[in-house]
Amino acid sequence: MIRRKNINKPLKITYDLFQRVENGDFEYIYRGNFTQTLTRKILSLAETNLQKLVDKSSLQNRIYFIMVEGLQNVTRHQDDLSGSSGDTGDTGDFSGIFAIQKKGNRYLITTGNLIVNSKVDSLKQRLERVNSLDREELKNLHREILSTGELSDKGGAGLGLIEMARRSGNKLSFDFEYVDLYWSYFYLQTEIPSRGELGIEEHDITDNESIKSIKSLNHLLSKKDILLNFNGNFNQNNILSLLSIIKGQMSMSSPAKKVYYIMVEMLQNISKHGENIEDYPDGNSGIFYLSQTEDDFILTSGNYVESSKVDVFKERLEFINELNEDELNDYFNKILLDQSAVDPQKTGLGFIDIRLKSHRKIAFDFTKVNDDYSFFTLQTSIKLK
């Protein structure tokens, strides 16, 4: 493992990641272990977003159903991993991935997980079979399996795939990536169009850009040890869901508490003070991700700020970074006692708090986007101990 002493360098990738998603769209990605509690939190986060974005409840239901199927698939295969004696070779990475993306009028749900090579062929055949059938044939196959009780060895995965294809009205996109002699990584992506009729089957799966893009993103996230990535519009609702995912996922420990506190400040900072380049009524666009290295949790946020304010922000952050622990404490108290400091966020109390809790300097970067806006990246870390 490479130790990452200098956390300044990777700051630029934040803007690259952020740019993957357009204003009004979102991308939520979770990598790691999948438990039922976590699955439920992910669903509730997605649900909050869907309720706001999707006005047709039938569409909401379809998206929700496909998410549940996908997540169940990952947890099921995860059980395989823990039960098997297989060597994961050099990968050492059991992480599953779940992603929900909104791109214009389309919703994409992608899951990824390791499977043993010996199962690849039969799974591929099943997927190809599902993709070769039209709506009517899928319905018949579904009925047939239900009545004959002929289920795949993996607890009904066959039925799950059929249902995902039926409900999305689309072919299933998939990919198997060879990992080593024992394992492959299996990506499955379902696209749900939010407009038009079900059964638009001309969706071209031979040249699937979005599954390729998720694959490369997964490699990047894995290289950067990113566990959780939310890229979209931040409002209090999303923030509370993200926080509850973190709370459910991390064991109760002192560093976990600190991560939670700092996340609150970073996320609310975006929702209160971030800017939108285009008008968007529901929250400010931004990105947040949490990574975990051998020694640290790393928290990174990014959002637009007005270019004209960059110098002021820089000055404030540099000033706060220069203070030692005693000076930080004095400054914190000064703001508490100052009756005129009505909005403490404007005084930099949040930044001071981050410094005090992390015991580290804050890493930051401003990338000029145009004359009006710059992209502001903020990063800090908490020792795992």
Partner: protein
């Protein structure tokens, strides 16, 4: 004086200020986006209470998580409580999770800024929590 009762939400605390039963407590989480707006009626209520305070008042602050915007407002409350203390006998009990050094530090910070008596009360969340992990429950 009428009690002040505010129910907890996902991001705001439960507040019970009940002079008749002599119960004064703030609990749960405090993460509102607009902390000033949330705490304004609480501060207003305390200002009135100051005029007719019970001979002894114990304030229990039992907050699991708070944002910095809330810290500032909580300090405003404590600042007012400090003034009540000039007229009657007041104690602040500051509850904090054993593993939460930052909540402990915040309590200590406040004690250094006011005169009112603070009692630091440590608890262990793991013991109080019935359980978070409902993984064995069949969700789907």
């Amino acid at each position: 004086m009428k009690p002040l009762i505010i129910k907890a939400t996902e991001d705001t605390p439960e507040i019970i200020f009940d002079p008749l039963n002599n119960v004064f407590k703030i609990s749960n989480v405090s993460l509102p986006e607009n902390a000033i707006e949330f705490y304004a009626p609480v501060l207003a209520w305390l200002k009135k209470y100051r005029e007719e305070a019970n001979p002894t008042t114990v304030f229990d602050f039992n907050i699991e998580y708070l944002n910095t915007a809330s810290s500032k407002q909580i300090f405003e409350l404590i600042f007012l409580i400090d003034k009540i203390n000039q007229k009657s006998n007041v104690v602040i009990r500051w509850h904090y999770d054993k593993i939460d050094e930052d909540m402990h530090a915040l309590g200590i910070r406040f004690t250094n800024l006011v005169n009112v008596k603070f009692e630091m009360v440590e608890y262990e969340k793991s013991i109080l929590d019935e359980d978070q992990d409902d993984d064995d429950e069949n969700f789907f």
